[in-house]
Symmetry: C2
């Protein structure tokens, strides 16, 4: 985390109340760095920002096609969703088509972020299911590949064919050997990677063409397109991934990850972006990615959704705007 | 925020995933610095960590005595409470004794943090009242002083006698002129202060004696003792203020503030502590204050509550410990 630079400021009245440091890298396919802030070689856990990498084996193996997955399912495989009905019903239907159910998932259960879904569970004293887990689409993808490979049910084990395939794809698209691994919030292995490597991977996804020569490139194109086509499935109403992808009007795919990670894939520019807030703050990663997307000309600075994240008003419970979450000048 | 040093580390597997920088100062009465990390002269908004300062005029004016406030009420005046029944019922009864009601508060309403109270409101589609606001005790104190002074109802105006008295007390105990002000989450003015000044104020509270010569010192002693006597009223079940004060077995009073502020008043040692996490993270301020309290010999390192904040396990939704929130070596 050394070498982190100021990326997001929290203003209250005329003073910076809190400050978020971090690292950003913008890459071309192959990994050439176009622009960087902080230290692009810092090693991070990409967390959920790498879900499209974890979904590559699902698609390139033919498992997705064999299971007749739609673009909605592929978007969910790359999602950290709110557990709203539009998410859980699709995941449940997907498991059903595989002849599996909620109990076959290994992501664990947590209360959905979607207020309506959480209210139903809370007020009926009902426990959330694993389909409510924000990672349930990724895990449905893991189960689909497990089925396709005829592998065992413990698909999160590091030596399970699914995770072996994920790691091979991960090291290929990042262009580096993993720097170790950790257990993620959803219990899946998450591989430590340099920010530069993650940016290189995002550039690979950005530049991936339809009808590409290699199954991996074709898979990357399909996953990127599925994310951009279904912003509401990748996160949910009000979330940065969903609102900013909507504001960019398709094409560009972006994804948040826990502990202040954000990535973007810009197909027209054939550029990949990866950023990490050193202290792990989501509010800061959202402001920083919005600034980078405006800077790269794919997000309109005057779009209401842009302002909501790039220069987000802090409004207190009497409706008074007391400050702002603001991307630092260096990114503007 | 320049000069901030590493105070809290977020570990995942064998790697520091995120890092929190900040500033800490330990002061004697009068402001002599005993120990410091980072820059003690950094200017911050103390936010809710200054509630005992904002409550000084309530007590020293005689308003608290005239209204027959108990130590529970004084603890609530210094609290950022969970809006549980033990909090809201006392605040409501207090307002009732003044012949006032929820509508006289100016803190605004937000959903209580207490799960049981939030569930009742959510499942009955009932909106929270202003008494549910975590600052409602502070505001009941402001209203009590307003009544005592025969002042107007808009007690949050900067030129209202209540806020004029708060500012005079604030500048006296911090030993410095305020560096401007901002509107807090509860709409009250919050005065920018150096961390050193806040630490000096906490040392004043720490050293304040019963039956002191001055009304201000007597008020400080009563407020500190009320906080230490009622940990459950200052925050709520599971909260750092409540659990750590319980673990210290009375005497020492501590208080959190938004955006990563924490303060402590150590009467036996006659020391005041103030800390600010530069990025505003509460998880980091809780680990850091626990480390400082252990270091100063008032909190047992092996107490379960200590470990919960000093070296807090990060447990995922399948019960797997994936990492730790850990105070940095510099504080241990």
């Amino acid at each position: 985390m050394t070498g982190a630079v100021e990326l997001t400021e929290i203003w209250r009245a005329d003073r910076v109340e809190s400050l978020h440091l971090g690292h950003v890298v913008i890459c071309k396919p192959g990994g050439e760095i176009v622009d960087a802030w902080g230290d692009p070689e810092t090693v991070i856990y990409p967390r959920s920002s790498a879900k499209m990498i974890q979904a590559l084996p699902l698609v390139e193996s033919g498992a997705a096609e064999a299971a007749e997955l739609g673009t909605e399912d592929l978007a969910l495989a790359c999602a950290s969703h709110n557990g709203a009905a539009i998410h859980t019903e699709r995941v449940t239907a997907w498991l059903d088509r595989l002849g599996l159910d909620d109990g076959d998932l290994r992501c664990g259960a947590h209360m959905p972020r979607d207020p309506a879904a959480a209210k139903v569970l809370t007020c009926s004293d009902e426990a959330p299911g694993q389909a409510h887990n924000n990672c349930s689409g990724k895990h449905a993808g893991f189960l689909t590949l497990t089925r396709h490979l005829g592998a065992g049910p413990e698909y999160l084990d590091l030596d399970h064919p699914v995770q072996v395939a994920v790691r091979e794809a991960w090291e290929d698209v990042t262009g580096e050997a993993v720097h170790g691994w950790a257990v993620d919030g959803c219990s899946a292995p998450n591989f430590a990677t340099s920010l530069h490597g993650l940016g290189r991977a995002m550039a690979f996804f950005a530049a991936a063409r339809d009808g590409a020569d290699t199954p991996r490139e074709a898979a990357a194109a399909r996953l990127r397109q599925a994310m951009a086509a279904h912003p509401e499935l990748v996160a949910g109403e009000g979330r940065a991934c969903t609102e900013l992808m909507r504001a960019m009007g398709g094409g560009v795919a972006i994804k948040t990850g826990a502990e202040g990670v954000f990535v973007a894939m810009l197909p027209k520019q054939r550029l990949g972006v990866a950023l990490k807030i050193a202290d792990g703050a989501t509010r800061a990663s959202e402001a920083a990615i919005a600034a980078v997307l405006v800077r790269l000309g794919v997000l309109a600075a005057d779009h209401p959704a842009t302002r909501r994240f790039l220069d987000a008003p802090i409004v207190n419970c009497r409706g008074i705007t007391t400050g702002h979450v603001r991307a630092a000048a260096a990114l503007r």
